[in-house]
Symmetry: C2
Amino acid sequence: MDCTEVLNTLESVIGQSDGFVSLHEPTFAGKEWDYVKECLDTGWVSSVGSYVDRFEEMLAEYTGVKRAIAVVNGTAALHVCLILAGVEPGDEVLLPTLTFVATPNAISYCGAIPHFVDSEEATLGLDPHKLSDYLSEITEVRGHECFNSKTGRRIKSVVPMHTYGHPVDLDPLLEVCERYKLVLIEDAAESLGSYYKGKHTGQWGKLSALSFNGNKVITTGGGGAILTNDEEFGALAKHMTTTAKVPHKWEFRHDMVGYNYRLPNINAALGCAQLEQLPGFLLCKRVLAQRYQQAFADVDGLRFFTESENAMSNYWLNTLLLDEPSSEKRDELLELTNGSGIMTRPCWTLMHKLPMFADCPRMDLSVAENLEKRLINIPSSSSVGGHHV
Amino acid sequence: MDCTEVLNTLESVIGQSDGFVSLHEPTFAGKEWDYVKECLDTGWVSSVGSYVDRFEEMLAEYTGVKRAIAVVNGTAALHVCLILAGVEPGDEVLLPTLTFVATPNAISYCGAIPHFVDSEEATLGLDPHKLSDYLSEITEVRGHECFNSKTGRRIKSVVPMHTYGHPVDLDPLLEVCERYKLVLIEDAAESLGSYYKGKHTGQWGKLSALSFNGNKVITTGGGGAILTNDEEFGALAKHMTTTAKVPHKWEFRHDMVGYNYRLPNINAALGCAQLEQLPGFLLCKRVLAQRYQQAFADVDGLRFFTESENAMSNYWLNTLLLDEPSSEKRDELLELTNGSGIMTRPCWTLMHKLPMFADCPRMDLSVAENLEKRLINIPSSSSVGGHHV
């Protein structure tokens, strides 16, 4: 791999830029101003307001679930999903080691123990076949519960993450969940606008989490959402995330330990305007991904990562996978591109390598460790290359 | 007490209103729109941005502490204060039963046990003298730690809350903390702009929490802050609330279980504009409180609650205290006023009466139970009565 050739190829797609080309930045080309100004003019900026309701309805409709609950961020959404799934202190929860730190953090908030799973190169996400083989070796199913034979702890749930917007292979994973009595929670923080076999990600799990952080496909400043098709979970998620206050015309009474995870109305207003533009953003991002794919087709030593056959990806963060012999040049390429004003980024440090998770149980993680060395994210904003619709 | 007379008195201060007069609503009469629009125009709406830094600097300067860390809300601020204070699972934490549910909730998030303390009528806050007597009976100090002799658990911290903006009697409370080796954390969620003996609330504790919820003196939509004079705590609070990421030009590595408690830049922009107007808001609120005080001076059966001699209150929520014989008319008064378009509210249901805290340890709570029956909040926005500066 010739790093200069990679840089030139990136520049050929991105075009001339005066400043720094970031990895992902938002576009505010819709009704953001109108909606936010309406919040300020009416005084409804805080946790109760019409944009929160509207954003939740729009999200549920877009993703095809019965209920969406807006919260302060994706981490909070995951935390509440885990609580609702019945994860208790001392349980183990399965998750990919190749993920953002929010996934194991949320598991830790529940007093549960992250249990790390390997990924597959086809999706960059959790490998359901390897997981199945592993669980057949280390677990015992008793009644409706699965136990880790080595640690004696219950394994309650599995949390796949749709890496950079690419859906995990969900059908075989659902089979694993069925066989091992695991609650499926999708960490769909990166996959708004991504589909598996024609159904939106976040519809497959019992519960799912979205994120609208500033670097995501759409943003609310900071924000997230819980998705579910279970009406009872939906009502409870809303209750738990709004301090568990019992409705009354004036009384202040709460019936459980609740959370202040409400998304403020002003952030939801931003979300409504952004969601209206999502189809356009996704189109621009597909065009950009196609241009990258074509441009990198003839570059030796790497490939542009594309969606798997069962998936339609939102191409949240475009990804280059270096061939193994080129992986030693990863840092050189990162230096060169960032030094040239084009932001690129390696994979997150794998979770089992972080000090606070180093002692957590895990399976063989060789594919994730291999991917970690070879993976580079490249600029992915919907506005990159001037394809804004 | 004649409920109609109370209603008439309220109306005489509030003046004619076409609609519903709420308990506390924000005023956006400053640079809110300019700052928020700048965020939208530059694309910096999310968790990194210049308004976050500016808001933190303005808060530190205004409250007189070395370091302020902006977070998503007051509950998150309290949670992080408790972690930094060294509160661990199984510890007990002292707090008033007369508080908002965020205080015991945050203690629960740490796996610690709320231990309820009585209030005093002079401040509506935690009674340091009664606490002192109680601790002398039930605790044993061993080395630098205090233990509950009955439960055997460590008592790590005390979290007074400055009710409706009225500062707790802090000097005697500091003595109690010294004697019983307790870390003082101020729940200053309601007391931005309130002073005790000339020093701003939030300066007295080792750590303190502010809130900028939509109903507070200033609002960021939803938001809060951690205050501290300890630079080490300040740096750690910033690190912990921003996912504990280790700074690096591209690497993603985290060195502890962190939280995604960052205040988005767009909310911080609102906060900067609001904080610029705070002196004006406080002035309006003092004028309103004085007018209430005068108007209610001749009304039988109740009194308007005023700041104690050591305190300057922000008068966040103005408060009527019914005389004991009148307390049976509390609900009648709530019905009449709310039915007449003037929002009033009783005290929060005391925390030890909520199902999730019913089994927690507690001292005699007779003063708080008495206050709960007699207390009513009345409209308190800085714009009420048309005194906006």
